[in-house]
Symmetry: C2
Subunit: 421 residues, 2 copies
């Protein structure tokens, strides 16, 4: 056996053990009272506050080793406090485990209930934001799910320090520390093993990070994945859009934060209103430093728009750039979105309720919006309290994934001796 | 190019075309009014009745070619009428498309609704029951989903004749005939291509058939699967079971129909009640021709029970055979079910409500039952009107899969100009 094989076998054994321990811990977390899960998350927050210095020391090691941008990686006292406060907020969310989602009686007297149950074991693969370690742990525990966390190597020391507080919180509440485990190595092969499901112990993978990571996960995973690859979101200014609303919403949808998945990347504008609507919208965006790339029709109306190439319509800029296209009406707007969109979030701005309802009904994106900013695509803004990510697939979870969407369900049938004829 | 390659390329082209046409048809089926889907299913029933002779002629060809058991394959006038009547029943079910499952208002005035949407394109792979062709078509159309049907070669002529009526019904209602397509060949490679997803056009695979088929599908599929591999169902006679109920329910759960997935395969019985409960239960089963295989404790109580081997506890007999085991109480019963069960349907018989509720809460099977027969595991019995199968996975669908579970959802956000702070 050469050295490389020996390392692989060690990693395999380590990862398999994580999976086996996760599966073991799942029953305790699933069957304990909701108050125990609440207490565990609150205790995590307390332990994290108490360990602020230790976490900052670990983060300093990560920062010293880091290359490139480090703002996402950097922690300070205020940020650690923010992470702990977020834990307390998740502790306050309703516990979905065991909730009756429906209950009905059959003519033969059988009483049937559909009851929420945890999915089981979640594999979370993310990059270098230390807060994700705590956020993901809390939302998984809130929904009764065990989680195996795999952070990017740049944040490993910070994540391990935060994980220490999480494990202490779980144990204080009388739960197995293995309800939340961290992959203790930066070896990239660990990701591949998680994507294979660790011998059937992982029920679903949640990737959170850049396009390269998510694409790899979606391509290689042998278990279900909750993820969005891209957010190519559209704001469609329909002929009867209110002019002030058109400017305010478009500017917010594009520029509030350009790097998030709910940011608008393409503006569609009805020909009938383009002459009056496009100049003020374009000027407002340009005034904030946004580059516009448009089709010939839009450039004929507003000369400072640069020419768009075919690739622009399917580009998630995540930057102060937006593409602009003039369309003939609802059908052409929907055709464009169906062809180039990513099924994430798309908005229509109009005072015409009938056209708006047609847009909302006909478009099959995870989130469809009328007269509001696409940047509302967020679990917090939806009232879910927290989200582990936003899903653009159609299976199981779609849109912001909060605690409720991290549950499955079972049927509870209560009888009085019924046999089937 | 040799002959084999040429055949493969033809099949590939045929299958890819099915996928592309399915995706094209999906928008029309998804966005038409519910009344159009209802009319289409009713028209399918009418066309099927009108084509009874043609269907029976096609079935006669299948029967003449068939080897082995043919009862599942055989059609007669009454059976064709039964299939048509079942179509009418699905037409009468509530249409789930566009149904608001939840709606709430945010403090900023945003009005958010969660609305049911079809999943998209379903790939249905089944064996030689001709009725499945019509049942699956109807339940998919009812839920707004396009379906690609792949029947076993033995039933291909019957299925194509039934499909003719389905296509005529769709067209009469003004929908594309491609909403329901059949794989027109018995080539087994077609199944492999469906399991790969036909270039991303298939959203979910539903296999329906024997263990070999379902195992292949679950192993090879690169898209989500709604399926159960096995139904190893348990009936647990707790110490405080009502004696008459114990006999009635156990006999029904095992013997009503032995070949269905909800049939009980193992009886667990509390030691405290085994002396009094086991003999009447065993005698009732033996009187109906059921073979009992038990552990040493059960055989000590009732001598005619044959010895069980380890393999018996994980065997889905689908036959008049049942395994029997004496347990010390709830914990040991749950341990046994967790170890050997398949997460399908498990029942407890007891007059002790506290023990029953603990069983219902702690066991994470798709269906958990108190004081009723495991054979109620059925979409019709649950009031779903129809089912496309029973799922034992935890993702998206679980238990009987009716029209509602063949939907996904999207969020509809209605605003009045809100921008995100």
């Amino acid at each position: 056996m050469n050295v490389r094989q020996s390392i692989d076998m060690d990693l395999r054994a380590t990862m398999d053990a994580l999976g086996a321990k996760a599966r073991e811990a799942a029953e305790a977390l699933r069957t304990c009272p909701a108050s125990t899960r609440t207490a565990a998350i609150q205790a995590m927050a307390r332990h994290l506050r108490a360990r602020t210095e230790e976490v900052l020391r670990a983060n300093a090691v990560d920062m010293a080793n880091a290359t490139g941008k480090t703002d996402r990686l950097m922690l300070n006292e205020a940020r650690v406090k923010g992470i702990a406060d977020a834990l307390d907020q998740v502790a306050d969310l309703p516990d979905p485990v065991g909730a009756e989602r429906a209950r009905w009686k059959r003519p033969n007297g059988l009483d049937i209930a559909r009851v929420s149950t945890p999915i089981g074991v979640i594999g979370m693969i993310y990059e270098s934001r230390p807060n994700v370690t705590a956020d993901a742990a809390a939302i998984c525990v809130r929904s009764g799910n065990v989680v195996i966390l795999r952070t990017g190597s740049e944040a490993l020391n910070s994540a391990l320090a935060i994980h220490g507080a999480i494990a202490a919180g779980l144990e204080e509440a009388g739960l197995p520390a293995e309800c939340v485990q961290m992959v203790p190595t930066a070896d990239r092969d660990a990701v591949g093993m998680m994507l294979e499901g660790l011998n059937g112990t992982i029920d679903v993978i949640v990737p959170r990070g850049g396009k390269t990571l998510v694409a790899r996960v979606q391509d290689e995973a042998r278990v279900p994945v909750f993820a969005h690859l891209e957010g190519i979101c559209h704001t469609y200014l329909q002929a009867r859009a209110d002019p002030k609303m058109a400017v305010d919403i478009t500017v917010n949808a594009k520029m509030r934060r350009v790097e998030i998945c709910g940011a608008t990347e393409t503006i569609l504008i009805d020909r009938a209103a383009a002459d009056s609507l496009l100049p003020p919208v374009a000027e407002a965006l340009e005034g904030m430093g946004c580059e516009l790339r448009g089709d010939a029709d839009s450039r004929a109306i507003h000369g400072s728009i640069k020419p768009a190439e075919e690739a622009d319509w399917s580009t998630e800029y995540l930057a102060p750039i937006v593409s602009v296209r003039v369309v003939e009406g609802l059908d052409e707007a929907l055709d464009h979105i169906n062809r180039y969109g990513s099924g994430h979030t798309d908005a229509i701005i109009t005072e015409d309720a009938a056209v708006a309802e047609a847009f909302l009904a006909r478009l099959d994106s995870a989130i469809v919006v009328w007269n509001a900013s696409t940047q509302f695509a967020d679990g917090g803004e939806f009232g879910f309290g927290a989200e582990i990510g936003i899903a653009t697939g159609k299976m199981h979870a779609r849109g912001p994934v909060g605690p409720e969407q991290l549950t499955s369900f079972k049927y509870v049938v209560r009888g009085t001796g019924q046999t089937r004829p």
